[in-house]
């Protein structure tokens, strides 16, 4: 099993679910990675010029494989890491992005069983038509096509036992995350807790239905953004029923070579969708991976997953987004105050440290805020992204950044915004960025 290549295993045969089994899986990966290092250094003996990209690739393949066999929350973490392109070497990213598309399906009888458990009926008794083979896999569930009263529906079904295993999964992922990100385990804790909270929320399908309805209503007036209808009466703790949205995923859409105008339109819809939520709702769909969007034949953006919502408290929102306005960022004293509020500069930092972190973070924030500064922004320019990745790479090598800084809210807000930037970059879209402006304060 372990030697099959990722992607070549269409049917998942067994999911290691007990903690012991999962640990075993990770230990095996650990050993393999050790082996990769040995391989690397023995090759290097003969070829001193060898760079580490082959090693990175080997490691990423092994980690990916062990994660994809684990499914569930571990896969989610893989997805999350793959969003933070600026934090990881390219080889990891390529392998991890695979996890956004392929996860093997569960058996038909288990689907039937899930329905019987929550509705006391078989799926074919509830729907006029129900396709027992899943059409898409989501990391903690899979999607089936169904039909009722002439309407095409998408039915998302969650794997059993996902919620239970999340916490123990994260504990197992931690040493790997630590090794990959170069952070200490203890410091990762705060962040891991934040991730755990979000992931646990994601397993609550009843909550997801409520939020989906709430958010799709709140965002209903945005141009070119569409949402499926949700059917709470056909949903339960582990089942969500919604309209089937026709359309293409980002990759397929781009393969059709869409016109610049169409790409701009989708990009604009994405920008508006995210910034309306961030600045008006103060809570945001924090899972901008391409699998959560569809591009409809009419050229609209379909949003199909509200599992992960990050709420932004005021004491984070104001200091952070005020920094995106040049007026505040040019004022060194106020900027440092904002950094302190965001825990990016610590109380016991020496003046030299304050100066150092101030310079670094200022550079980071001005990079991040670049699209906000002007009225329109062209996301196709690679220079901006090279700068962004370059900066990410540089600070990942600085010993000063080995310790954790910044409040926990950064994880999801960064993931959301950099994820958004990445998608817009892939779209090569030109976007009007002044549609929903951040609310700022100029003094602290």
């Amino acid at each position: 099993m372990a030697d099959e290549t990722p992607g070549a295993t269409p049917e998942q045969n067994s999911i290691p679910t007990t903690k012991v089994q999962r640990s075993a899986k990770f230990v095996k990966t650990g050993i393999k990675i050790g082996g990769n290092y040995i391989k690397h250094y023995s090759k290097k003996l003969f070829n001193p010029d060898l760079d580490k990209s082959e090693l990175n690739e080997d490691n990423a393949a092994d980690i990916y494989q062990s994660l994809s066999e684990l499914k569930g929350s571990a896969l989610k973490v893989a997805q999350m890491l793959s969003m933070d392109k600026n934090l990881l070497p390219q080889a990891y990213v390529d392998k991890f992005t695979q996890s956004q598309y392929n996860a093997p399906p569960l058996s038909g009888p288990l689907i039937v069983q899930t329905f019987r458990k929550y509705f006391g009926k078989n799926p074919d008794q509830i729907f006029d038509k129900f396709n027992i083979r899943s059409t898409n896999a989501a990391s903690i569930g899979q999607v089936h096509q169904a039909e009722l009263n002439g309407k095409k529906l998408a039915v998302k079904i969650q794997y059993p036992g996902v919620g239970d295993s999340i916490s123990s999964d994260l504990k197992l992922v931690k040493p790997f995350a630590f090794r990959m990100l170069g952070m200490s385990e203890k410091e990762l804790d705060v962040y891991m807790k934040e991730v755990e909270e979000r992931l646990l929320e994601e397993t609550d399908y009843e909550l997801e239905v409520r939020r989906s309805v709430e958010f799709s209503n709140a965002c209903a007036n945005l141009d070119n953004v569409v949402f499926p209808n949700y059917y709470p009466e056909l949903s339960s703790k582990r089942i969500i029923t919604m309209d089937w949205l026709e359309g293409k995923h980002l990759k397929e859409f781009l393969a059709t070579k869409p016109s610049q105008q169409l790409r701009d339109q989708i990009g604009q819809a994405l920008w508006d969708f995210y910034n309306f939520q961030q600045h008006e709702l103060r809570a945001v769909h924090a899972d901008p991976h391409p699998g959560n969007f569809m591009i409809t034949p009419e050229g609209k953006l379909g949003v199909i997953d509200f599992g992960c919502i990050k709420e932004m408290p005021e004491d984070f929102y104001y200091p952070f987004f005020s920094l995106t306005s040049t007026n505040l960022l040019d004022n060194k004293e106020e900027t440092i105050k904002a950094f302190r509020q965001l825990d990016m500069i610590h109380r016991d930092d020496t003046p030299a440290q304050i100066e150092f972190y101030y310079t670094q973070y200022k550079e980071m924030i001005s990079l991040f805020a670049l699209p906000y500064i002007t009225d329109t922004f062209d996301f196709s320019q690679t220079a901006f992204f090279d700068q962004l990745y370059g900066f990410g790479e540089r600070i990942s090598k600085m010993p000063e950044f080995k310790q954790a800084r910044g409040v926990k809210h950064f994880i999801y807000v960064n993931r959301t915004n950099f994820g958004l930037y990445n998608i817009l970059h892939e779209l090569k879209a030109k976007v009007k960025t002044d549609t929903f402006k951040p609310h700022v304060v100029l003094e602290y």
Binding site: P109, D124, P160, G161
Partner: protein, 217 residues
């Protein structure tokens, strides 16, 4: 007028309230307003009632899963999975009785008597889907071993039954996972695997590689 069902229900009710079998058929019949003779029309003893209840679970499960629209499209693997899910969903509502009945069995390697008719039904079903699977080449036809496939499935069944008895998870979700994993692993072994290829390669070498001569056979 007593029926199979009314006797079974009355019996379940009695053992669960009293924690033991009725002292005699006479007492049991009297309590349930029937004559002893009526009882014997259906069952020869209390043990037979219990046997019948378990067999009834299996028959009911089979009737239910076979009536599902998807049934015809299922592979053998899925049919087996479907039986397991259906069975444990069904006995969920009789869990107290199941626990009572199983805990009372002596520990050992032989199948407890109370399961014999259930086992017959199960093996009949297993045999049927195995044959189907071998015919459709879903499963590998191996000399001697393929006849033992159904025994392996029975072992799984007993294992999962015990797992379920001790399962404390909400909605017995862990049992669902045990089924999904256990049955899939079992069927993976039934499928054509590298081991089959290895055997065949060995056979080929023996026949064509001149090994026989060299080894002096």
């Amino acid at each position: 007028m007593a029926t199979i069902e009314s006797i079974q229900n009355a019996y379940i009710d009695y053992v669960l309230t009293e924690g033991e079998q009725p002292k005699s058929v006479y007492i049991f019949a009297k309590q349930n307003e029937m004559s002893e003779a009526e009882f014997y029309q259906f069952y020869g003893s209390f043990e037979a009632v219990e046997l019948g209840i378990w067999a009834g679970f299996a028959n009911k499960t089979l009737a239910e899963i076979r009536a599902q629209e998807v049934w015809e499209g299922y592979t053998s693997r899925e049919k087996a999975l479907s039986f397991f899910y259906g069975f444990f969903e069904l006995i969920k509502s009789s869990r107290s009785f199941a626990v009572y009945s199983i805990k009372k069995q002596p520990k050992g390697f032989t199948t407890p008597k109370v399961f014999t008719p259930l086992k017959d039904i199960f093996e009949g079903f297993a045999d049927e889907i195995m044959k189907e699977g071998i015919e459709s080449t879903e499963l590998s036809d191996r000399k001697y071993f393929s006849k033992k496939y159904k025994d392996a499935l029975w072992v799984q069944f007993v294992f999962i039954l015990n797992f379920w008895i001790n399962d404390n998870s909400a909605g017995f979700e862990k049992t669902d996972e045990a089924i999904e994993k256990g049955i899939n692993v079992t069927f993976d072994l039934f499928q054509r695997s590298p081991i089959d290829n290895l055997f065949e390669y060995g056979k080929f070498l023996v026949q064509n590689g001149g090994i026989k001569d060299k080894m002096g056979f």
